[in-house]
Amino acid sequence: MLRRLIIIPISLFFVVAFSYALVEIMPGDPALAIAGNTANEREVAIIRAELGLDRPFDERFVRFFTDIAQGDLGRSFFDGQIVSHEITRYFPASVEIMVLSLLFAGLIGLSLGALAGYFRQRAPDSVARIVITALQAVPEFLIALLLIFFIFYLWRWAPAPIGRLSLTDTYPPVVTNFLFIDLILAGDWNGLRSTAHRSVLPVATLAIGTAAYFAKVARATIGAAMSSKQVQFARACGLSEFKVLQYALLQARGPIITYTAILVAALVGGASIIETMFSWRGLGQWGLQAILNKDVPAIQGFVIATGSFTMIVYLALDLVVAALDPRIRHDRG
């Protein structure tokens, strides 16, 4: 357990170093590349100074780290906003879409996977395998387009994919930056309904894409658990099939939770594209825009924020697994 905790600062160091390296890999003069062809000498010089390119490498590197340690991620080249403020502003929306997607993906994926694992090598398993294989091969942005075509264009079940609220809705006063929570705090039930309705397509997109992976890992782990000696003994003792499945789930639980951490990392990337497609205005969309703008401080902030976020999720899920497994739990104490 202690070893896991030691990994964290090391990993964080790598994340920060990596975000720094992003500037270094830019070919030619980064300042020139960022400022663009139309910039004059003075503008380029300002950017160069911002990046610290006028100082020696080691000094730059150390300063970069001390700034970040103090929570100073600099200002955006593009619109002059303070990067750390922007991150806290956009992060909650990303958390909302990711939590909702994970919830539904888990529900759908784990049920499908459990079904396949329980009936392994029989008809439900074959069907599930085909569904999983097919779903895994569809890029998420294509899922989004297909959902838009069917659910919005053809059947009109969902509103147009433009933003989290319609033009006629008013945004609630910002309290937490979590739109759902702010709407509830403001008591704006119409707004809540509106945003829930508008969440259907983006959440469904990410949920479907992620569900395939949940199903895959659940199928494999539960399938293996079903042919384990443990399940055999449970059956030999006359336990009901419901209990037997429960035993198999207990056995598969750890690996599935661990795998969820990997899915979260993938989800952060996928969410950038989906947020952009649906104008979700979360951290993913903001970060993607920063990358396209070559807005170096914002990119670095984005990389550090997402990197640390997934790192924390890894650790948290690791702790959950350890807490749930008596074998690890006892080792520690």
Partner: protein
């Protein structure tokens, strides 16, 4: 259970492998040899947003490009990028992975570092690298290698360690074979199947990354087609019902990715058995 009575090695036993190989081969052949009915980079202003028909098999887009011609043309661009990235990852990752199976603290530390790397949103990484290194889609190979090499290393390491435990490596060690000889003469042949499978998966992942990047317009130079660019061209049209512009390139990505995954799945099954 009818498949059951069949003997091993039949078409049915490895349906995924044969299906995948057929589709991928067909795509490569089409990419290299297929004559294109229309110029893929010259739009026809008189044929805008035509639905699929005998003249335009997959319809035309809002500029007047023939979707079919561009789907094929895009394969010439996307498939080599994906395969190239995957193969380079294997070439780099396999020896490194084998090396980490040697005992020692260094390999342990390297693997820990790679574990941390896995925690990263890799698609974001690829986007950042391509954008910052001059915005050319070819740079995606660099990103792919960065993403897929550690995966290859991890797999080779775990497989290699498992095989090391087995008797014949122990015997070779006991007889005084040198470490490098053990790696390449004894371990490598036993992980070939796994390498092929993982390379296939890497190619599938790469194809998705290439599609995602070009979908976002990163690293593309119009009017050159790429499946992702084409899907993007039809994205807005999905809200107005012209489904064919996005769907056909989307199906191309889907088929290619699924085929590569199916090949990998069956290779895993086949080789796991013989290596045991």
């Amino acid at each position: 259970m009818t498949a059951a009575e069949s003997s091993p090695g039949t078409l049915r036993a490895h349906f995924g492998l044969w299906f995948g190989l057929t589709v991928i081969t067909a795509m490569l052949v089409a990419a290299v040899f297929a004559p294109l009915p229309y110029d893929p980079i010259k739009p026809n202003a008189d044929a805008v947003l035509q639905a699929p028909s005998a003249a335009y098999w997959m319809g035309t887009d809002s500029i007047g490009f023939d979707v079919f011609s561009r789907v094929i043309e895009a394969a010439r661009r996307d498939l080599p990028l994906a395969f190239g990235g995957a193969i380079i990852s294997a070439v780099i990752g396999v020896p490194l992975g084998l090396a980490t199976t040697l005992k020692g603290r260094a390999s342990e530390i390297i693997m820990r570092g790679l574990d941390a790397f896995q925690a990263f949103p890799l698609l974001v990484l690829a986007i950042a690298i391509v954008t910052l290194t001059g915005n050319r889609l070819e740079m995606v190979i660099f990103a792919i290698v960065l993403i897929e090499t550690p995966r290859m290393m991890r797999l080779i390491r775990s497989e290699g360690l498992a095989i090391r435990e087995s008797r014949f490596i122990e015997a070779a060690e006991a007889m005084g074979a040198r470490p490098r000889r053990i790696l390449f003469v004894h371990l490598l042949p036993n992980v070939t199947g796994i390498i092929l499978a993982q390379t296939s998966i890497a190619a599938a992942n790469s194809l998705t990354v290439v599609a995602a990047l070009s979908f976002l317009g990163i690293g593309v130079s119009p009017p050159d087609p790429s499946w992702g660019v084409m899907i993007q061209a039809g994205a807005r049209l999905m809200t107005s019902g012209q489904w064919w512009v996005s769907l056909f390139p989307g199906v191309a990505v889907f088929l290619a990715v699924m085929s590569l995954n199916l090949i990998a799945d069956d290779l895993d099954v086949i080789f796991e058995r013989t290596s045991r």
